[in-house]
Amino acid sequence: MNLKHIILALSCSLSSYAALAAPTVDEIIHKTNYTSYYKGQDGKAKVKMTITDAQNRIRSREFVILRKDVPTTDDLTNHAYQGDQKMYVYFTRPADVNKMVFMVLKHIQSDDDRWLYLPALDLVKRIAASDQRTSFVGSDFLYEDVSGRSLAADKHVLISEDANYYVVENTPIDADSVEFSKYVMYIHKTTFLPIQTEYFDKQGAKYKVYTALNVENIQGHQTITKSEAKNLQTGGSTILEYTSVAYDTGFPDEIFSERFLRKAPRKYLR
């Protein structure tokens, strides 16, 4: 390494912490995991979901999503940020699913607990954890996309990078448990947001593409406020638009309980 390179490396380290040293793939995926699912101690957003099918027929759903982390730190060192999470998804529209609730207690060490509350049937159902790769309320997003796929489920390889992105290829460790053969993430170098994720089927054909369409800085967190899942097999797509995003609102733990499925904590959902 000659002097020129050393100077260049030093200047980079001054301008950007991220580029201090080329991060390992482990660092990249954890940062991405953090920016995607763990920012702040809790988070809240109103979400408008627009599902468009191949014939441009549109259905929409609206819900409020509340998320609270069990770990009380955002520290990435030793993966301290990572831990169990609680999620409360309260549907408001269409009118006939108003008050429907989907709740997740996400566990790192074991299967997640999931509940569904159907107000019109006055029914609280647990959803079996056996398969998380089913559709989320008929959209092109899966339950696993909402709650986050465990990093331990895949093998991660940094296959390339350019000026803006790390390209990470992820292959499932238990290939039989999933319908994809691999997925490739394009992770933005400075924000570590996954700007695009492409899924490939077992025959090697790309069949699903997730894209971040809009990013905003909210309370210092770079946040995806519009994202799209495009299903290349059906020709359909789903767009999620996030409004009223807020971090660290400080809602109590107790709302993530069966009791609050039937009686929604209205005050936190506004």
Partner: protein, 896 residues
């Protein structure tokens, strides 16, 4: 050849030209024919160099029995798109060696592997870049469908029915047990007896089915020693296979028919040189017509593929008349030029008339509403015209080109045949002639009684068609079809679409009910202690009360009002306005008819009724989906297999269903706006008459059980389309036959310049058609499409013999002075010509009986029958009728 000036007779200038320039005529015919064939053939080999020329197109799509803009087809295409329904290749699997059928680890493992293989059968289309081949997301197989069940401890479970091949017998049986519990899968994926499985492979284009089938078969072959049987069928496969078979038929049946006719002619005329000319003529006409068909961009369809087979007998008919006549006259005249002129003079008018009547018969098919039948009729008419043109030019030219020495040998061989040493047929004909004269009454009475029997037969005719039955009973497609329909709920799909009848909207005042619901929403808001609830909801109330105009307009006005409310209201009123929005949203959702319990209950009841119909194996509907999910949500209790009580409960049941691996399955049953639903009916029979019964029964049910929400029901799917074109065919063919019958009758009256002679000439035709259809009714053969077009063929062929016979009868009676004296000569040469003709051409078509495609067998059998019957009635009944009433028919003669 030198010009002859010593002709004893004048002759039509075209014929004169032909016998003066035989080489030119032969060359002209060769050049025209070869040119047509070249133009038709070349673009198939060099499509890029010759983009302006049409290539050969095979069309085996039964849908094309209706024109593309036909209502039933347009609606079918629209609904198929709206419900994302694709053409499907069905793979049925049975295992007769295992007590549990296919539900053993080994067989299920093979099925799992075949599924994975099928999922990979897609590729980017070279032209469009879009994916072509198997549509993986809609593939139905144990490996790709969801098992919905309550998973104990109050949880509901969505998991793949068979995520991987089971390793133990218990696991294999578990797959069966689960699938049997899901109504959508029971009888569709898994057989009613729980022994067999079917995989449904949707494809992007039905023309890929043959290719996909071949690939699947190759993969199955790789399994090696297996216990189970695989049956691949489904309509696209049947169609594609039919196309392949059709080509084989064109390549085999038509030439065999040619060969048999050739041998028969040789047997009758003994001289190869005579026989070759009709064969050349038949080839020229058949090839030219098919070439013109291709050049003009028409498709080779089941109907048009039979054009050569229809043209050949007609083409040969005239040539045989000429040859037969020449053969007899040459012995007397002993000069080939004089003989041919004499023969052509004698035959020119009857040949012209028979050609015109044949053309009239077939051209009338252009008036039917079925495009392939129109093409068929028009091109046969073209072929018949060509046959006439070359018969009056090429045949005389050919005969005069035969060296005199050859003809001389011919005379020596035959001069020994004196009138008293006649052949068996000659003697038979002579006796027949005498019999008709002496026992005319008996002949007429026998004929009349056969008409009676025929009339009875016709009354028993069963109108029915089924494209699958176009294959022979032992054809693999028919076998697969039979096996699958034995095990499953039926492979013939019909769909009943229910949607709001917008043209027939009811005028009920919607306001009172709406205000009632508003009051409930208001109470709700007050209960929730929302700010200014009373005030804001009262505003909404007056907005509704004061509204004048449609419900639609009110919805728009309310949304405007709402927007303003959100904009101008104080922050603390936000929740109240949100509650108003919820009300408006739920009002608009009332238009989602198929979330309303009453609509779904109606659908369920209708389905129950349909399931009880005899040919219906099973049916699938939105209400099944809702009932199944509802049951599994409520601990799998059998009594919860029902439609929930409120539209919200339905919506929430449906959204639960969409939390599965295959949420898009829902859209095969209902459109995303929940305004249209499709009820799938699986029939175990593809017979049109069975589908007609189902349609009639359903129509009756609907009229006695009025549908809620101003709904209307309309069928679609290929099984329904078949019924539509069949109805059109029956009425269309009747009209076309009646039309051409009248046209031919008028032509006959003009030809004979006599009403009675005209009427008389129609008798063999009428009797033939009557007997043919009477026979069909008596033996119980279905009146299907090939049978329907036989009536036109009858007009084309049956009247010919009558024309030839009657014109000679008049000539001979005039010549010999009386009808009695004319009988003898009439039953020598002219009767001989007609008999030879009927036998040669009739027998020529019997090889078609060996064809593996039923329409060809039908046509073969009935062409032969038509020819024999027309020959017999012309030779027996016509003279008998004349003998009974000679004065009626020979008034002019007497006066002269």
């Amino acid at each position: 050849m030198s010009k002859h000036t010593n002709d004893t007779e004048t002759v039509n200038p075209i014929i004169l030209f032909s016998i003066n320039h035989p080489k030119f005529i032969t060359r002209l015919m060769t050049v025209i024919t070869l040119t047509l064939i070249t133009i038709a053939a070349l673009p198939n080999f060099f499509p890029e160099q010759l983009p302006f020329l049409n290539t050969l197109q095979v069309d085996t799509d039964p849908e094309n029995m209706l024109s593309a803009d036909e209502d039933a087809r347009v609606y079918n295409a629209k609904m198929k798109k709206e419900f994302s329904l694709s053409d499907i290749v069905v793979v049925g699997i049975t295992n007769d060696f295992n007590n549990n059928g296919v539900f053993n680890p080994k067989t299920l493992n093979n099925i799992h592997q075949l599924t994975q293989f099928a999922l990979g059968l897609h590729w980017a289309d070279e032209k469009t870049g879009k994916q072509a081949g198997v549509i993986g997301i809609d593939l139905l197989s144990p490996s790709t469908v969801d098992n919905i069940e309550q998973g104990g401890l109050g949880s509901v479970n969505f998991s793949w029915l068979m995520p991987s091949a089971p390793k133990t017998q218990e696991e294999a049986l578990k797959v069966r047990e689960r699938a049997k519990k899901i109504p959508f899968l029971d009888g569709t994926l898994i057989s009613d007896d729980g022994q067999a499985l079917a995989i449904y492979i949707p494809i992007t284009d039905k023309h890929l089915s043959y290719e996909i089938r071949e690939k699947l078969l190759a993969r199955i072959a790789e399994f090696g020693e297996i216990e189970e049987d695989y049956y691949i069928t489904g309509l696209p496969v049947a169609e594609d296979t039919f196309g392949v078979e059709m080509f084989k038929q064109m390549a085999i049946s038509a030439p065999i028919a040619m060969l048999v006719i050739f041998l028969m002619l040789w047997w009758f005329f003994k001289r190869l040189i005579f026989v070759t000319s009709p064969m050349i003529l038949a080839m020229v006409c058949a090839l030219s017509t098919m070439a013109i068909l291709i050049i003009t961009g028409n498709t080779i369809h089941i109907m048009s593929s039979m054009i050569p087979i229809f043209i050949m007998p007609i083409a040969i008919l005239d040539a045989v008349h000429i040859l037969s006549d020449f053969f007899d006259k040459y012995n007397k005249i002993q000069d080939k030029r004089k003989t041919i002129i004499h023969v052509m003079n004698e035959l020119f008018t009857p040949m012209l008339i028979t050609t015109l009547t044949t053309i009239a018969g077939f051209a009338s098919l252009a008036l039917t509403p079925i495009p392939p039948v129109q093409t068929f009729g028009i091109f046969i008419a073209i072929g018949v015209f060509l046959a006439w043109l070359w018969s009056i030019t090429f045949i005389p030219a050919f005969i005069v080109s035969i060296p005199d020495e050859k003809l001389a040998g011919f005379i020596t061989a035959d001069t020994g045949t004196k009138s008293d040493h006649k052949t068996l047929m000659g003697r038979l004909l002579e006796k027949a002639g005498n019999f008709t004269y002496n026992h005319a009454l008996i002949v007429v009475l026998i004929s009349m009684s056969t008409i009676g029997i025929a009339a009875y037969g016709i009354s028993k005719i069963n109108v029915n068609d089924n494209p699958i039955k176009w294959f022979n009973a032992d054809h693999p497609i028919r076998v697969a079809d039979r096996v699958l329909n034995e095990h499953f709920g039926g492979t013939y799909m019909a769909y009943l679409a229910l949607e709001v009848d917008t043209e027939n909207a009811t005028n009920i005042d919607f306001k009172p009910a709406m205000l009632e619901r508003l009051a409930m929403a208001e109470n709700n808001a007050i209960e929730l202690q929302l700010t200014h609830a009373k005030n804001i909801f009262t505003q909404v109330q007056s907005k509704i009360q004061n509204h004048i105009g449609s419900e639609q307009l009110l919805a728009t006005n309310l949304l405007e009002f709402l927007d303003k409310g959100f904009e101008t209201s104080a922050d603390n009123e936000f929740d109240t306005w949100d509650q108003v929005q919820l009300f408006i949203d739920s009002e608009s959702q009332r238009k989602e008819i198929f979330k309303q319990p009453d609509a779904l209950l109606y659908l369920a009841d209708l389905q129950k009724f349909i399931n009880n119909l005899e040919v219906v194996g099973k049916s699938n509907s939105l209400s099944d989906v809702i009932k199944t999910v509802h049951r599994e949500l409520l601990l799998g209790k059998a009594e919860e297999f029902r439609i929930p009580d409120s539209s919200n409960a339905v919506a929430q049941t449906l959204i639960t269903y969409q939390n599965s691996h295959r949420p898009h399955d829902l859209w095969h049953f209902v459109t995303p706006d929940y305004r249209k639903t499709s009820l799938w009916v699986q029939l175990t029979s593809g017979d049109n008459q069975d589908m007609s019964v189902v349609e009639q029964e359903v129509a009756n049910y609907i009229s006695s059980h009025p549908m809620p929400h101003n709904l209307k029901a309309k069928w679609f799917g290929l099984t329904h389309i078949n019924v539509v074109w069949q109805e059109k065919m029956v009425t269309g063919m009747f009209e076309s036959f009646t039309g051409s019958f009248i046209v031919v009758l008028i032509m006959m009256i003009l030809l004979f310049r006599s009403f009675f002679w005209g009427l008389l000439s129609m008798i063999p035709l009428t009797l033939t058609v009557g007997l043919i259809y009477g026979f069909i009714g008596l033996i119980g053969k279905d009146y299907d499409m090939p049978v329907a077009v036989l009536s036109s063929l009858s007009i084309g062929l049956a009247v010919d013999y009558a024309i030839h016979f009657l014109s000679r009868a008049r000539e001979y009676t005039a010549h010999h002075g009386s009808w009695e004296k004319a009988i003898g000569p009439l039953f020598s040469e002219p009767a001989m010509a007609i008999s030879r003709n009927a036998i040669v051409v009739g027998v020529g078509f019997l090889p078609l009986l060996a064809a593996p495609l039923v329409p060809y067998q039908t046509v073969g059998f009935f062409i032969a029958s038509i020819l024999f019957l027309a020959g017999i009635t012309s030779l027996l009944l016509l003279p008998a009728i004349i003998s009974l009433m000679p004065n009626l028919f020979f008034r002019n003669l007497k006066n002269n």
